[in-house]
């Protein structure tokens, strides 16, 4: 990690020096003014999680010709992010801003979008609505529950105790979709399997995440996954205890060379490269961009050494079925873990179904409560 930083720093220093020289040359530089992109992260960009998934994609953009990327990490969801955006626009000349955290959208990004109508803002989270929000804003998001379903298949195949664990931040729809998809995937190979869920209450609480992992291990859980900003603590704790993990956000195989099975990853590069290309072509990037496995916005990590061939086959078959549209993750009859029918028999939802956006239940087989 330290090596990576040093190289980055040197590289950037060089870049800064070159930048200073171009400034010195004055007007001549204007001819090939680079497209400046501003990335803002809510946590550290080497968190093995949500922020790293974005930073890895930003690193790809840095290599594109005529593109300059400026980044800020650990920016809270307050007026600070408004000022970071303004600073990128005013002092760095950024024309396309990616505020990547969910809470940056309303009111912060919307306020800045009104203030700078010529700057494009694209937010990660899927909140943008035509007619409601300005056209220089937009959102992009991925149906990562599709990848979670595949993770669940692998987890369900590998688990001997039939008990999976899911450490989650908050019982909000995004998280519930992941817990349910993971469980449904596991149940597709072993109908009796259960998922123990623990909500820690916030996005980054390493101590609680470690405690939750340990208590799950004590209860006999043998595959654990999570939805928190950084899965690092969960994955490392599980590896030390010798149980299996499925990753989230980005690839954590390095942290658990033995026990890492697979994971649900974002592939933001797909989204960002498209957006940058359209900016370079003089067009505004899409306003409402969403996709799943098919569009390549999400993917699963390469299988770890502990995954048996049979499990790989099952997961690959499900992936093919999701890609050709023959497999629906959420279909009736589906009951929640309190016995209520949440999707009636005969009904099957496509992944884009708006009703899924307001999910407020845990499916049968999940041990835990949303409140």
């Amino acid at each position: 990690m330290i090596d990576k930083f040093n190289i980055g720093r040197r590289g950037l220093l060089g870049g800064a020096a070159a930048g200073a020289m171009t400034l010195g040359l004055g007007g001549t530089a204007n001819a090939q003014k680079p497209l400046v992109l501003g990335f803002i992260y809510v946590g550290p960009r080497d968190d093995y999680g949500y922020n790293q998934a974005h930073a890895e994609a930003a690193a790809v953009l840095k290599k594109m010709a005529g593109v300059k990327v400026v980044e800020e990490e650990k920016v809270p969801e307050t007026v600070a992010v408004e000022k970071s955006m303004e600073s990128m626009i005013n002092l760095d000349g950024a024309t396309l801003i990616f505020p990547t955290s969910f809470g940056y959208f309303d009111p912060h990004m919307l306020k800045e979008a009104a203030k700078f109508p010529k700057i494009e803002f694209r937010h990660c989270g899927g909140l943008w609505a035509q007619g409601k929000h300005p056209m220089n804003t937009g959102s992009y998001f991925g149906y990562i529950d599709e990848a979670q379903y595949l993770s669940g298949i692998v987890a369900g195949s590998v688990s001997k105790s039939g008990k999976l664990g899911f450490i989650a931040a908050k019982p909000i729809p995004q998280v519930l979709r992941n817990i349910n998809a993971f469980t449904l995937g596991a149940q597709s190979v072993n109908p009796k399997i259960t998922t123990q869920v623990i909500f820690t209450g916030d996005w980054s609480l390493p101590v609680k995440e470690a405690e939750a992992t340990n208590s799950m291990i004590a209860q006999g859980v043998d595959v654990v996954t999570c939805h928190v900003d950084s899965p690092k603590v969960v994955v490392e704790t599980a590896e030390r205890a010798g149980i299996f993990t499925c990753g989230y956000h980005c690839n954590q195989a390095k942290l658990a060379p033995k026990g890492y099975l697979t994971g649900a990853e974002w592939n933001w590069e797909r989204v960002y490269v498209d957006m940058v290309e359209s900016m370079k072509a003089g067009k505004a990037p899409g306003n409402f961009v969403r996709g799943g496995l098919k569009e390549g916005y999400v993917r699963t990590s390469a299988y770890g050494p502990a995954v048996p061939a049979a499990a790989k086959e099952k997961a690959d078959a499900a992936k093919t079925a999701i890609l050709n549209g023959s497999l629906a993750i959420y279909k009736g009859a589906l009951k929640d873990n309190k016995g209520n029918t949440v999707i009636p028999a005969g009904t099957s939802y496509v992944i884009t179904e708006p009703k899924l956006e307001g999910m407020n239940y845990l499916v049968e087989g999940v041990v835990g409560s949303t409140s």
């Binding site: 720093r9 040197r10 950037l12 809270p76 307050t78 303004e86 600073s87 809470g103």
Partner: protein
Amino acid sequence: MNATLERIAVPTLALLASAVLFGLLLAFYAHVDPLEAFALMYQGAFGTWFSWQNTLTRAAPLILTALCTALPARLGLVIIGNEGALVVGGVAAAAAGIAVSGAPPLVVQTAMAIAAMVMGGLWIAFAGALRQFRGVNETISSLLLTYIAIALMNHFVEGPLRDPSSLNKPSTWPIGDANMIGTIPGMDVHWGLVFGILACLLCYLFQRFTTWGFAMEVIGGNPKTARMMGLDVSRYVLLACAAGGAAAGLAGMVEVAAIHGRANASLAVGYGYSGILVSFLARHHPAAIVPVSILLGGIGASGGLLQRRLDLPDAAVVVLQGIIFVAILASETLYGRLLKPKAAT
């Protein structure tokens, strides 16, 4: 040495020493040209009109939360529950704003401010009461109260006050655009800055020119003497705690009414903790809180530029803040020793 001169010279020396130390760290640990870094910091904090507004916006909540430590400190208390008072103030403000949202904006805003100040004031006064009547250390109790405050906020934001349409970031109902307090005319800084400066001014005048202010100083000097003189120590302690808590609560109201338009987890982002730092750096002097807040606001504002231009981690400015804090505390020992004439010893 002249006392006033000393009060300026010692912190200035401490700041210079911090800058040198930070510069050495930059040069030999981070391998960055310190002069370039300082130039960028200046540009990011004070170099342009935009930078100034950025700095002042960041300073505003610190001024108010710093008073939460500074006012009780006058009586010898060490209160560090600023974050909790801000959070309960913010939630109370949102609740009040929602409750009377139909009324004219000025009424709504006043109700929000009062609710926030009362809640924040009661919160810290409770820590003061625990100390005066139950012998509980106020530093510990006020810190622990912060955790309770955040838990309560989560309860209200995710429960009774939750706007069901705030799916993935639980928040209270909005107070409505019409009820927002907006920015100071002519600049892009919210009214929290004015509230903060006025509060510091009032506190300074109160401490300097009223008998109550003088009584508080006496208590801070020696509570036993004060008691023997017939001063009702507990009453003054509760009053100072309540006033401090009210200031932090008002900071919470400003967050809701000027920035978020609702209460949610973004209230607890550490303004309260930074306020403690400001208060200590200002040696709990209300008039010094304003410049110190601006200094720290400026350091915060420049952090982004350091990240973007030099690829330094976000922690760089936190390290600088830490160095300044230690340097200022260490420099306490210089008072009375600086340029002390040899003959006088």
